[in-house]
């Protein structure tokens, strides 16, 4: 008797599988109906026929890209989704480079409509895009983000110059003689600059795949690196070597790659008062009772200082839109309007509460107008 009971299980599972397939089929039908692009053939088992899904289109905006822009883009997407008749856009956090790669893969519903980026698009990426038929790209600058070097609230406040940052973190630093490079010998901050505390150099920062790391290296490290005259002169003569000197972070343990999880860095800073962490301003803003930002070149990383352009380690944030997708993908134009409206990115917009530093009024108006007219990017070849 017990054997009979057991043998029921297998057909039961098969039934579940059948229902699953049936439900699947009806579902893809309803979405296909709303679509701007016609669905060719309906099939009840999309698992087996990828083509049907690919042709059935999409009724939501598909966004990829930077993990730095992600916290801002998601807020806009959510407000847009709740406030409009359209579905909420889907946002994947892929990193700036990964996002642009997906974005440039082609035009069509399988490819993202928008990619977020914590740096400007590169010429090589524009070329890849063009090769794959993505010719008209609209660039939207959304505001600024400051990169802070923070330590625990209990630790001493420090004031760094960009040169200090470079000397403390570069793999190789200039030696006594001009043109000579030596392996970074500095172990404590006071070795770098006697005015700094006598504690071990220990900095937690993002990995090389991160846009935050790129920007930190370019703005803080290179900024300090340039202050050495002979290195600055190299920029004109040997650009590669200049970059190698200025952009290479030491690998002897003073700089620790802490992954992309900024909350984790904040926790580690609390536990270790000697350590510094590198992350975006929004994390400092949310954790200001735990950590504090170091002054860079005499300027504290505050909302106002970054907005005014006084804080040296700040960078613009962008997203890029495929012009060919606007008015084809339902909701894309609405999302653009939501993002570029005053209540979103303005001085008192809801993104500023999340730590995005707004652009000046004039710049906002210009970008908003360019987005309205969908003025495509014209990349000047350097």
């Amino acid at each position: 008797m017990s054997i009979q009971k057991k043998s029921i299980v297998l057909p039961l599972l098969a039934l579940v599988a059948l229902q699953a397939c049936g439900k699947d089929g009806t579902d893809s039908k309803t979405t296909a109906g709303d679509m701007a692009q016609p669905a060719a053939a309906e099939q009840s088992e999309p698992k087996m026929s990828g083509g049907a899904v690919a042709q059935s289109g999409r009724d939501y905006v598909y966004i990829v890209g930077s993990s730095t822009v992600y916290p801002f883009a998601t807020v806009v997407a959510e407000r847009f989704g709740r406030g409009s008749e359209f579905k909420t856009p889907k946002i994947e956090s892929t990193g700036s480079g990964g996002g642009l790669k997906l974005f440039c893969d082609g035009v069509g519903v399988d490819h993202p409509d928008v990619t977020n980026s914590s740096r400007a698009i590169k010429q090589s990426e524009v070329d890849t895009c063009a090769e794959n038929g993505v010719t008209e790209i609209v660039e939207v600058k959304i505001g600024y983000d400051g990169i802070v070097l923070a330590n625990a609230l209990a630790a001493d406040s420090v004031e760094l110059s960009r040169a200090d940052i470079y000397l403390a973190l570069a793999k190789e630093v200039p030696g006594e003689a001009e043109g000579e490079l030596i392996e970074n010998p500095f172990e404590t901050w006071s070795d770098v600059n006697p005015a700094l505390p006598d504690s071990q150099i220990e900095v937690l920062g993002p990995p090389p795949t991160s846009g935050t790391r790129d920007a930190f290296v370019e703005l803080a490290m290179e900024g300090g690196c340039k202050s050495v005259d002979w290195i600055a002169a190299l920029k004109k003569t040997d650009k590669n070597r200049y970059k190698a000197i200025c952009h290479t972070i030491r690998e002897d343990g003073a700089f620790v790659e802490a992954g992309e999880n900024d909350n984790l860095i904040v926790q580690k800073l609390e536990a270790n008062p000697n350590a510094f962490g590198i992350f975006g301003f929004s994390f400092l803003d949310q954790n200001k009772e735990k950590v504090k930002g170091a002054l860079v070149d005499g300027v504290a990383p505050t909302f106002d200082a970054i907005a005014a352009g006084d804080y040296p380690v700040s960078r613009p944030l962008f997203f890029y839109v495929k012009k060919a997708h606007v008015d084809v993908i339902p909701g894309l134009r609405g999302y653009l309007r939501e993002f570029t409206s005053e209540r979103t990115w303005g001085e008192e917009g809801y993104l500023s509460e999340r730590g995005l530093i707004p652009m000046p009024d004039k710049e906002r108006r210009e970008v908003a107008a360019a987005v309205r007219d969908l003025t495509p990017l014209s990349m000047v070849i350097e």
Binding site: L13, A17, D27, T31, G51, V53, A54, T74, E92
Partner: protein
């Protein structure tokens, strides 16, 4: 006999040493278990200490006038563009008339979640007769207020160092004293999809995503796994090829899960052009992941069926197919089901392969089918753990508790099935 010892003397001489060894070994065993239990205890204690508060959410009572001018200008109800947030703000201003300056008012508005506006809209949509009336409503407080009342914002530190100002704290205290603030079960956590506002964020979207994925996984991996196991055990000739297959299956079970994600990206998305972020693709990838587990468990339970059963059936004239389906399979089924459930609970906890196929995404709408964009429970945990807003920390722990609850249920089911249905020979 001279100085030669008798056997019992040799035994007696070594007895103390042997007993000592035995005690030491037992002590070490107890110690090892205790360390394990301790780690588990610390893990659960911190999780529950951090996450328990997320199951409660703070609500604020407001007297809101559903102004017809605002909701239905010109007589037509305009749900999409009506300023429901404005109605909430008006109510807040009349509750706290002392907030006069622009800056003060901005601070005041931050006490209430943006969810209040959505709640009003839904209320009006479901009951348009209320327009024009004054309603006393409990609306969700902002996550800052929630964190303050849960003790996660320290009001005693300097004002500049906390996310709430002295004024905001005074307003919250005034609401508290008049009983206009209360803590309720956090429905949103179980009823909503993801959100960037912690007080509105929920795990329903992720749970449904995981559910659809597991449905695809079990529907594919169980029949395929069992069929493969039966063939390999009962029918396949034992030669070099079947050995090779066996080695490969055992290898596959140990392959890091991210590799299956890469495979899924290449095959299902790039080659078969299935949609990214869809549970159907997640389910296919997890099928690849669980197949080896199910095959190995199923083969083990087929092997455990005594040969005498097969021989008896064959002796009575059953064909080999009849032997398998009438006798071996039913007897091996409890073991196979246990293997399948353990495979499923492994699949439920996976996040690495889903990274590659676009399921690490911000998705607000709860998925309603196999091709809708979705995330999974472990991915949701990962995304929340990386959010800057403070209140997501406790929600991360709460989501982990829920995930552990599901895993516990599944593993418990596996144990019960084994205990109930297993036959000892």
């Amino acid at each position: 006999m001279g100085n030669k010892l008798t056997t019992s003397e040799i035994v007696a001489a070594g007895l103390a040493r042997r007993r000592r060894k035995e005690t030491t070994f037992r002590l070490l065993g107890i110690l090892a278990t205790a360390v394990g239990v301790l780690f588990l205890g610390v893990f659960f204690a911190t999780l529950i200490a951090k996450g328990a508060s997320a199951f409660k959410q703070t609500f604020v009572q407001l007297e809101i006038t559903l102004d017809a001018e605002v909701i239905a200008p010109g007589g037509e109800i305009d749900l999409e563009y009506a300023d429901f947030d404005g109605l909430v703000r008006t109510a807040l201003r009349s509750r706290f008339p002392d907030a006069k300056s622009r800056a003060d008012r901005r601070e005041l508005y931050r006490l209430i979640s943006v969810g209040a506006g959505y709640q009003l809209r839904d209320l009006v949509a479901s009951n348009p007769d209320l327009i024009g009336a004054k309603q006393s409503l409990w609306v969700p407080a902002s996550s800052d207020v929630d964190m303050l009342l849960k003790g996660n914002i320290d009001a005693s530190v300097e004002e500049a160092l906390r996310t709430m100002s002295d004024k905001q704290i005074a307003w919250v205290e005034s609401l508290e004293n008049s009983g206009e603030i209360r803590s309720e079960f956090n429905d949103a956590l179980f009823g909503n999809g993801d959100s960037r506002d912690p007080e509105l964020a929920g795990i329903k979207g992720a749970v449904m995503g995981s559910f659809y994925m597991l449905l695809v996984t079990i529907a594919l991996s169980f029949p395929i796994g069992v069929a493969a196991a039966i063939y390999l055990e009962e029918f396949a000739p034992k030669n070099r090829w079947s050995d090779l297959i066996e080695v490969n299956i055992n290898n596959l079970a140990a392959v890091p899960s991210i590799v299956f994600g890469l495979l899924g990206l290449a095959v299902f998305i790039n080659w078969m052009s299935l949609p990214r972020s869809a549970p159907v693709v997640g389910g296919l990838v997890l099928t690849l992941l669980t197949l080896p587990v199910i095959i190995i468990a199923s083969r083990a339970s087929i092997q455990a069926v005594p040969p005498s059963i097969r021989e008896a059936a064959l002796g009575l004239g059953a064909s080999s197919t009849q032997v398998v389906f009438h006798h071996v399979l039913p007897l091996a089924m409890p073991g196979m089901l246990t293997g399948a459930i353990i495979g499923m609970s492994r699949a439920l906890g996976e996040s690495a392969p889903l990274l590659m196929i676009g399921m690490v995404a911000f998705i607000v709408d709860v998925p309603g089918g196999f091709t809708d964009p979705a995330t999974a429970l472990p991915v949701q945990i990962y995304l929340w753990a990386d959010s800057p807003e403070r209140a997501f920390a406790e929600r991360t722990s709460a989501a982990i508790i829920v995930l552990l609850g599901f895993l516990l249920l599944m593993n418990l089911a596996a144990v019960i099935i084994r205990k109930r249905m297993e036959r000892k020979w």
